[in-house]
């Protein structure tokens, strides 16, 4: 199944090649080229985890940067 999905996506050309599509294809039942399709559980989980992790990353980065800026201003 993995080989079929890889081959199909490769033959369509790289403009439509992406990891999310690949993930949902190998997870089983999805046809991601259509809106309103039946999606896999993996895709649903990714829709929640990816944005939350990106948000946490930005918040942590901002926190660390503000701490560094405060420390630098105190040193000066």
């Amino acid at each position: 199944m993995v080989e079929d999905a890889t081959e199909e996506i490769r033959t369509r050309g790289d403009a439509r090649l992406n990891l999310i599509e690949f993930a949902s294809r190998i997870a089983g039942d999805a046809d991601p080229s259509r809106a309103g399709h039946q999606v896999s559980a993996l895709y649903v989980v990714l829709c929640l985890v990816v944005p939350a992790v990106m948000g946490l990353f930005a918040a942590t980065a901002a926190f660390v940067l503000s701490k560094l800026a405060r420390r630098r201003s105190l040193n000066e």
């Binding site: 403009a15 439509r16 992406n18 999310i20 599509e21 949902s24 991601p32 080229s33 259509r34 809106a35 309103g36 399709h37 039946q38 999606v39 895709y43 649903v44 990714l46 829709c47 929640l48 990816v50 944005p51 939350a52 992790v53 990106m54 948000g55 946490l56 990353f57 930005a58 918040a59 901002a62 926190f63």
Partner: protein, 313 residues
């Protein structure tokens, strides 16, 4: 090279434009305590031709990341009333699911003829709902903020007859919100949560652009506290909305990630700015952003209906 195909929306977009749109919306999100869906959903449809159901679902996914990013910043400033947010969430779950089901119904309702033009139910009712809400909220907030800029309210909280009436309702159980400095019936908070949750599911918005003015003008929460608490609430609504839309195949994760690349950093800048600007000025800017979005939705509807004789898109 920078053109990316969106698998669910089935369209190709120029990635930097999408990231830039995400950054602008993230900035507004951090500054106004809104998810940004009231601007982003119509803009995705107007600028990139993404169907409303996919724009709404993907919007909620990016909103999840943006609200996580901005809430943590506001919590650091002490702008989040956790008890207030959790009470509203109790009503939001049912409202969000109901809104998403109405979108599903509109998908199958077929095409509707208006002024001789055929439109799908989604393309007609969602923009109309946006237009009415944006116009009403923009007008109310603009009028109040202009008055408040001349005569600022004491203690940061706005005073209106509605606030006195709502806070006077003694329907038990009552809850004391010490962080916001008010005491109110828990049923009012659950009702507000239900209404904003419905908007989240139906229109692909976190409900923040309704929640922020509601907290300020109906409950009497200070502006900066309304912004932080609104974002805290939106974080949960967006997670649930994203989940239910993903199940229905309405979330394009590639689109959501592109938007997030800009919005998570824009949100940090917007949140930082709330510490530097007065509440009345923030509300004035908010009303202008609402009007810009209303004009964009109206322009799209006018073109679609061919009212001015231009070809339908």
């Amino acid at each position: 090279m920078l053109e990316i195909h969106l698998p669910v929306a089935d369209t190709t977009v120029f990635a930097p434009w999408v990231v830039l749109l995400g950054a602008s919306v993230g900035f507004l999100s951090g500054l106004f305590g809104v998810g940004g869906g009231f601007i982003l959903t119509p803009m995705l449809n107007i600028l990139f031709g993404i169907p409303y159901n996919v724009a709404a679902g993907s919007d909620l996914a990016q909103m999840l990341g943006t609200s996580v990013s901005a809430t943590s910043r506001h919590r650091g400033f002490g702008h989040v009333d956790v008890r207030l947010g959790l009470c509203m969430l109790a009503g939001a779950w049912l409202g969000t699911e109901l809104g998403a089901r109405v979108v599903e119904f509109l998908k199958i309702v077929g095409r509707i003829t208006v002024a001789g033009r055929e439109l799908s139910g989604l393309d007609l009712f969602i923009p109309l709902a946006f237009l009415v809400l944006l116009s009403v909220i923009g007008t109310v907030v603009l009028r109040e903020s202009l008055r408040a800029r001349k005569r600022p309210p004491r203690g940061g909280a706005v005073e209106t007859p509605i606030i006195k009436w709502v806070q006077g309702i003694r329907l038990p159980p009552m809850i004391s919100l010490r962080t916001s400095g008010i005491r109110i019936s828990i049923w009012i908070l659950i009702g507000i949560g239900f209404a904003t949750g419905f908007l989240a599911g139906f229109m692909g918005i976190g409900g923040g652009f309704v929640l922020m003015p509601t907290l300020i003008y109906v409950i009497g929460v200070p502006t900066t506290m309304a912004i932080g608490t609104g974002l805290f609430y939106i974080m949960f609504v967006a997670a649930f909305g994203s989940y239910t839309h993903a199940l229905k195949g309405n979330v394009d994760l590639v689109l959501a990630v592109l938007l997030l690349l800009g919005s998570i950093f824009g949100a940090q800048v917007g949140a930082w700015l709330t510490e530097k600007v007065r509440g009345a000025k923030i509300r004035y800017w908010f009303s202008l952003a609402v009007f810009v979005s209303a004009i964009a939705v109206l322009a799209k509807l006018v073109v679609q209906l061919g009212v001015l004789g231009s070809p339908g898109s």
